[in-house]
Assembly symmetry: C2
Homo-oligomer: 410 residues x 2
Amino acid sequence: MSDTHLHVDGARVLADLHALRSIGAYKTGVHKPTFSDAHMRSLEWLAQRLPEAGLMAAIDGIGNVIGTSMKSGPKLLAGSHLESQNFAGWLDGPLGVVYALEAARVINPDPNVNGSVEVAAWCDEEGHFGHFLGSRSYVGDLAETDIDAAKDRNSGRTMREALREVGLEGRPRAIAERGRHIGYIEAHIEQGETLESAGLSVGIVTSIVGIWQYRITFSGEQNHAGTTRMAVRKDAGLALARFCVAIDDRFPRACGPRTVWTTGRITLDPGAPSIIPGRAEMLFQIRDDDTGVIERLENLLRSMAAEVSAQSRCSVTVELLRTGAPAVMDTTFQHAIEAASCARAGGRSIRMPSGAGHDAQVLATIMPAGMMFVPSIGGVSHHWTENTGDADIVTGAEVFVDACWRLLVP
Amino acid sequence: MSDTHLHVDGARVLADLHALRSIGAYKTGVHKPTFSDAHMRSLEWLAQRLPEAGLMAAIDGIGNVIGTSMKSGPKLLAGSHLESQNFAGWLDGPLGVVYALEAARVINPDPNVNGSVEVAAWCDEEGHFGHFLGSRSYVGDLAETDIDAAKDRNSGRTMREALREVGLEGRPRAIAERGRHIGYIEAHIEQGETLESAGLSVGIVTSIVGIWQYRITFSGEQNHAGTTRMAVRKDAGLALARFCVAIDDRFPRACGPRTVWTTGRITLDPGAPSIIPGRAEMLFQIRDDDTGVIERLENLLRSMAAEVSAQSRCSVTVELLRTGAPAVMDTTFQHAIEAASCARAGGRSIRMPSGAGHDAQVLATIMPAGMMFVPSIGGVSHHWTENTGDADIVTGAEVFVDACWRLLVP
């Protein structure tokens, strides 16, 4: 069933997204690091819009914007974030916030709906100061000491200094009232090309993958690159290169259908052109929504490392730096998005895991959560050329508002 | 024929080396960067010793110490350097200088020898400010503008500032008087383990290898490490790792018997754990004393790069950063060292190329040149644990002085 009387205003959605794009514009994208002037002006912009949706707006002590409804009945929380990566895209974050705002504007005044949509913009999803600090604060998973320790990864400015400078020092932090919400829903650009390449309009997120991160260190022997014969070298850099290639050869036979793995950084020590590296290090990451797959791959990684240590002239250690359990999206939310997609997007949807992390994984720890994706042109992400076609943005808004309505009016 | 009346004073050689070791001592090695206080005191120490060998000492405008003989007859130039790498060994440089001093002390006063040994300590062989600045100045291959541009690679202090601070500003630079010398001879620790592992005392250097250095750059596509499927990635870092492994697999079939190659530095861009590298770069070096071998390997490198660009999702460019032609050591000098080794070291010598660069390659551009090596314990180089046994040091001194004598009295 589609509630055809819901009038989603596509032009208003696009106008709002362009208004946010004009704050901190960079080429065709934006540059809005957390607590930058452009970020703060974006939060103010949202706070001024929320009353249009019958919501009371507040910016809390960690920079979350929360729009609270006074209407009776069930409440659905919806949102995303407003800061950006450095010199990045205009939709990563704002799309989900504007969809949530539109859902609230359409649904909350509707006298036929016994319930309302509340809107949130979570601070620092992009991780300038930490990992999901805003949403973690809201679910009660962020201590004052975590804030004390947080620093801007680029400037080194502490979070305390930043909060003071933007005028949020001393404000209380909004904490979720248990049982208030039937759940949380978030829309986001896909950041990949699954939807675009299949000609689809909507991704129904089944789970948000877990991220396992490792430091893999190779120890050999530093020596003179001119006087040390090839036969006696213990080149840690070469051992690392062979390991990368071995991973690429062996992981495909052990991974799941959507597992991804990445070596994002390599460091050779001492890193001089005339010195054989005595030590080499790689940052390695595996993502999957199945912890069984991750465990199998980690075992493979460790056995490969043991083989290298036993058979070659270099030794290898594998150190787990970070684990993040996958977050499963609520099936009721998946059904609602699918039904909305059938009603508003001709059913051009697919169920898929999210390879990127989102605030929804944090909210999912205390309430049912769901996510939907709209297509990304060329799958470009975290770059100012990131984009989505206007028609896809508007269709996505219609599906999102419809899904919110279905969740509130079962 | 050995001139058995030559009395090389091994105890004096060891005492001199220990005197130099005590200036700027660091653990069992030394820390004497170019123009440091410890380096300058080492130059003064040498200048004060030279008159004992009948030589007039001068420290010139670039920090070379030159001991000039007033004796008639042929003149042989001998030397090495007195600065060190940071926190490095006590013999790398000083050994050759003290051997030259000992040769001058033994030979110059000898009324039976119609000729003399002149002694030099070349400044900055270790390259704190540039490449062989002292010896290049002496052979006339260093312009004032080169000195203007030279900077300490660690502190950033300009060479002009350093020269002013140590009181050498404005002094004339000593330039080689063409035809004055029958040639140049230099002794050095091997910095490898060829001699030690074969139980030999002397390496007779046949050539000093050339160094070819390349920047190899891989271009792929930067993307999100969570949302980009393995099948569509263009991972520049992985392409680089595969290239390193391919070099290691294919170079052995194309190289010469003593070719060495090294990847000393790898950089992935942007180098973040959650981003697929769009660009990757490696510094790669090949050393050989045969330019034919180098050319063959460079052609192989370029054809491998073309294969990768044609067959994979990343493109590769190979950029030549630096070439250094090999320097062939004079055969008369090689014969003299070999005869001296037979007379003084039971013939326990081997002819070998030098994989490291030395001032002899610079002097070889204007006069015949020769080099000899003494063993390095464990082949350790450019580290404070670098060492050579006393017996090997003394034997080396005897062979060196004997070789100088043979070159002067043919």
